[in-house]
Every structure is written in C-alpha cells, then in structure tokens.
Symmetry: C2
Subunit: 257 residues, 2 copies
C-alpha cells in the first residue's frame, strides 16, 4: 500500500503537488475513480477518490478519515549534534522515523566540529521515511540550536544538586536524558544511571540529548544537570553519534511496547 503526502489536506485542499501527482499518475498509473491513501503529516490518513488524474496536479475527494494512523504511544524529542559526515545524521533521522519519533533538533555544542546545518534534505527524508513506514505523522525537524539554548528552553523546575539526585526530586512528567562519555563523578555530581533505569521512571514523554564527537563540555553537562536533566549511560561500547542516538530511540520505543 502506497501513501501520498499532502500538507494542505487538513485545510480542505484536495490535491497533490506536482511531484506526488507525477508519481501517482506516471509511475503508479492510478486513474480517475481509484482510491488512494493520503497522509497529512499530522497523523491522519485520508482515503481519497481521484477526480482529476493529471500528472501535474491530482485532485481528489475525501471518502474516509483515519486519525492517529501508525502512531506510537509515547512522545519523543531527540536533540542530536550532527556529525561531520551529514549522511550519518540523515541515516539517523530516517531510522528514527521508522521506529517512532516526534521531534528532532540538531544541536551545536561547544566542541562541535560541525557548526552549519542545512535541513532541506533531512526534511525530504523524514517525509519519505514516514510514508514508507506507514506513519500518518511526519516528525518535526526544528532549527539547529546551541546546547545551552536547548537546555534553557527545555529545563524543568526541578534542579539537581550533588546531595539530591534528580531521580528523587519532584518531577514534571518529562524524562530528560543527557548521554555523554565523560564521567559524572569528575563533576562532583551523582553517578550516571543506565538508560533503562531512567526509562523505568517514565518512558511516555522523553527528551534526549546526544552530543558531538568531542562530547558535551563540562559547563554544558553542569547546566543540564542543574536544569532537571538526568545523566545516563549507554554502556561501554564506543558508539558513533548516530548509533548512540538510535540505541536511545530504540530503548524508548521498546520500553513502550
């Protein structure tokens, strides 16, 4: 079953853009009167009858609406430092979409080698990955931000100190996880816990941060821990950025099945 994407369908515009129309008519050879499946990128699938089978602009009537199509039972926002090789970030975005993710934010850290991020290609990959894996919702790709700005925009009221680990403090329901290689002990703060221990507390609404090749800086880590983020370990293997990010996404997914 092939899905088409129309970002304006929820506003009542019943047509496909030129690229989708061409694919529908020229490649898949659909014709007037046939039923096609169109997603709005927001989570809804529409079953639609083709009215005009033009390869430049297919028009259709909606015959059925299915909400929460291919949805998942959790909310996940991953902020990931794009590696030098941008293909690896694209690969992560594609696989994370297939597994189930809601938001992706590219991060620039103090030790990032990459300081520029262009989102157009990733946007297109997210659309095709969502269609391919039969998801009505396309993950949101946010503008790239610095680690510090991301932490300040996503802090919780809870603050950790060396005497009160964040896992025993009051909690706003969002599990904020920062994965890094440096040892927390050297910062005079509590030990890291494993991602599974952190998700056992709550896996329904998760934010996670994966740093650049050079890791997060001490001041970035300290800021995160002061703003309600939990330091977690992804084990002893030396994982590349995109692998670490996918292991974390996969852990959230599995914790919710």
């Amino acid at each position: 079953m092939e899905l088409f994407y129309s970002k304006n369908i929820s506003q009542g515009i019943c047509s496909l853009d030129a690229e989708e129309s061409n694919h529908c008519i020229k490649v898949l050879r659909h014709r007037r009167g046939e039923i096609i499946n169109v997603v709005d990128g927001g989570g809804t699938l529409y079953k639609c009858e083709i009215m005009e089978d033009s390869p430049k602009g297919v028009t259709f009537n909606i015959v059925e609406r299915i909400d929460n199509y291919g949805t998942h039972s959790y909310r996940l926002h991953a902020a990931v430092a794009p590696p030098k090789n941008i293909d690896r970030f694209e690969w992560f975005a594609e696989k994370a979409t297939e597994i189930g993710i809601d938001e992706i934010t590219p991060l620039f850290g103090e030790y990032s080698e990459r300081k520029v991020f262009k989102g157009e290609r990733v946007e297109r990959l997210l659309i095709s990955a969502a269609k391919q894996s039969h998801k009505g919702a396309i993950p949101t790709l946010n503008e790239a931000v610095t680690v510090k700005d991301f932490i300040l925009a996503h802090s919780s009221a809870v603050t950790a100190t060396s005497s009160t680990p964040v896992t025993s403090a009051p909690w706003d329901g969002i599990t904020r996880l920062i994965c890094y290689c440096d040892e927390v002990e050297s910062l005079g703060l509590s030990h890291k816990i494993t991602i599974n221990q952190a998700l056992a507390r709550g896996a329904k609404d998760v934010m996670l941060m994966i740093g650049p090749e050079g890791d997060f800086s001490r001041s970035e880590i300290t800021l995160a821990l002061q703003n309600g983020w939990t330091a977690i370990s992804l084990g002893e293997s030396r994982l590349r950025i995109e692998t670490a990010a996918l292991v974390a996404v996969s852990s959230v997914y599995i914790a919710n099945i």
Copy 2:
C-alpha cells in the same frame, strides 16, 4: 588511537599484511621503534613495537597483551534474512558490530526474495567496524543457511506446546527469540511476548532470528516454537528487516548495561 588487524598474531606471526602495512607506513607514517596497536580479531589487543617499517610488510615485536579488549558482557548470535538491497544488510552488520555482537548468520526463508548471499564485502566491513569501534573481537559471519536448518542446528531440548508456553518450561540458558509479524494466535499457540519480557528471563546468551520481507512461513514459525524458540514482538511499527534486527540487537545490549 588507530587499531591494526593481524589474523595470525595469536599464532606468533608478528607482521601486518600488505594492506595494513601500507596504511600503517604510507598513510599514518609510523616508523621503526614506534608502538602500534594490533588486534587479533579474537578479542586480544597487542601493543607492538615496529621492527621493520616496510609498506609491503610491517614486522613488530609484541610488548604488551590486553585480553578481552572492547568486549561485552553477553553473547549474541543474530540470524537475519538479507533484504533484496544488500546495502541494508551491510549496514546492519556494521552497526551491530559497533554495538556488540558475536555471530551473524544470513538466513534464507521460504518467502525470501534473496536466495544468494556473498559474504566477502560483509567480512571486510566487520573488520573495519570492529577496528573503528575499538573491539578486539571481530564478529563471526557464518555461511548462509535456510531457516529450517538454522532452527534444527540451534534447537533446545525444551519443546513448546499450546498448553505449556516455552517461558515456563525447563531452560538450557540460551534465550532463543524469533521475531515475526504474523499473529501467533492464528497458529493456535501462546501469545507473543515483548522482547523486554523475554530478555528479563535471560539476556546473557541470546540467539535471535529476523525473517525476510515476506515474513517467516507458518511451518518455519511452528518448527521454531517446537524447538525452544520464543515468539516475540518488536512492537507496532513497520520496521524494515535491518531496522528490526538493529532494534533487537540494541535491546540485548541495553539489557546488559
């Protein structure tokens, strides 16, 4: 830190092959008297002093030996049906090595579209991925086999029936997991459990099977369940073969940290 690979070092042969020698001398410009790190692919790292710095055949003396270098605390054997697009299998092999895996077996199922598998490229990828992720052991790539032969070669004494689910039968210590899309109920057998439920019983010695695009056949599934394999679910997302395999490998890894 760069690792070199020498498959004969454990037999006392202290030299690099032509490709590794060229990389060591021409690319990295190491010279006589310098210390290089050589892995044997079996789990041991050797610190070696270069004696002859020839780009055609570096020779060295072993000065230190570190066993279980970059090892993991579990044993994992994944049998995966190679998808039509072989790049996707190679990608899985590379990422699984980075995370931690011991054996990979390509599977041919009744519904496999791909009936031929050439291992040379995957072998090379396993070596480079192990070196890249600082692992002394290179995963074993087995010959491709049919699903039925694989099950019969890896059956346990335990057999499941509809009245005694495999999870409550006596157990030989190996967690055998078969992931498939078909509903077990239609086979008149017990419900699938989640991979986390299965791993909670034992995650130290795991075998898992991921089937082809067309899924396992009914007779393959029945044979597996009769031979001590547990039917597991990887959740509701429609995962490609290589993504399902990586989610499963990632789950075993995370269950052991």
